[in-house]
């Protein structure tokens, strides 16, 4: 498989996420679109690590090829932490305003 297909796929997913963030008003769906974008990046990182594996394995330190996959691991960690805090914020938001509409938040009164 050539790398360009993976790049294309990740880009398509990423841009779908962007379109979602720009067009939707439901904050939960916006949040989900962010997760989608993170996953697109993860996919690309793994694909690149795989691409470089062939060249890097012969070198002195073959461990470097797994770096990208560890990045993905850390991205997942951060995403999980982010989701827990973000959802808590959304729940509080809903409790106070009875809405999850982001347009409702353009004024940060009180």
């Amino acid at each position: 498989m050539e790398i360009k297909w993976y790049i294309g796929l990740s880009l398509a997913l990423f841009c779908t996420g962007i379109v979602g963030v720009l067009t939707r008003r439901n904050s939960i769906i916006i949040f989900m679109c962010i997760e989608l974008m993170l996953n697109a990046v993860n996919l690309l990182l793994v694909a690149f690590s795989k691409m470089h594996a062939a060249t890097a394995l012969g070198q002195a330190n073959p461990n470097v090829v797994s770096d990208a996959q560890l990045f993905v691991f850390f991205i997942m960690v951060v995403a999980a932490a982010e989701v827990s805090v973000g959802l808590a914020i959304i729940v509080m938001l809903y409790r106070n305003t009875h809405s999850v509409d982001v347009n409702f938040l353009n004024r940060l009164k009180n």
Binding site: L9, N63, S66
Partner: protein, 167 residues
């Protein structure tokens, strides 16, 4: 077409279709379910690239924990009853155009690049296995790993503090 390519295209189409459905479907619950399908497709891609550990962690963390949280929150709020007010057409159109433009710019940049045709070895290669990843995670990346655990703890405490009812 080899079976790997077939799987690649199948998974890609599935991922893209579900991603579009995430953005377009009206009910948040449907969005969540489609996002789960996206995660499964991406995990399938990881397996194709023999990144077994990431594939399974992707399912455990994203599909198993994060999306359950999303579903939980959506069910708690009973969002289905309330129909989301639409953004006005112009802004939606602008969003679509800008996203599309970004996509086109990236694509054209990629196609010009020299390494776009680099081959990617599917399957094989054992550095995606848990043993090797663990080795470098606990040797080269020990400090980031520990810091991320602190991050987790603080996120957990933060979530509890935010979610607590004010007395």
């Amino acid at each position: 077409m080899s079976i790997t390519e077939l799987l690649f295209w199948g998974l890609s189409v599935l991922a893209l279709f579900s991603a579009i459905m995430v953005v377009t479907s009206k009910s948040p619950v449907h969005s969540i379910l489609f996002l789960i399908v996206v995660f499964f497709a991406i995990s399938g891609h990881y397996i194709l690239m023999n990144a077994q550990f990431l594939a399974i962690v992707n399912i455990i963390v994203y599909a198993g924990a994060i999306m359950v949280l999303f579903l939980f929150v959506v069910m708690l709020m009973n969002l289905n009853a309330e129909s989301e007010p639409k953004k006005n057409r112009l802004i939606q159109f602008a969003g679509l155009i800008s996203g599309g433009c970004l996509f086109l710019v990236f694509i054209s940049a990629i196609t010009k690049s020299a390494s776009a045709n680099n081959l990617l070895q599917m399957g094989g290669g054992n550095f995606g296995l848990i043993k090797n990843l663990g080795m470098s995670l606990f040797k080269d990346y020990l400090i980031p790993f520990e810091i991320s655990s602190v991050l987790f703890l603080s996120a957990m405490i933060g979530a509890v503090v935010i979610g607590k009812k004010e007395s």
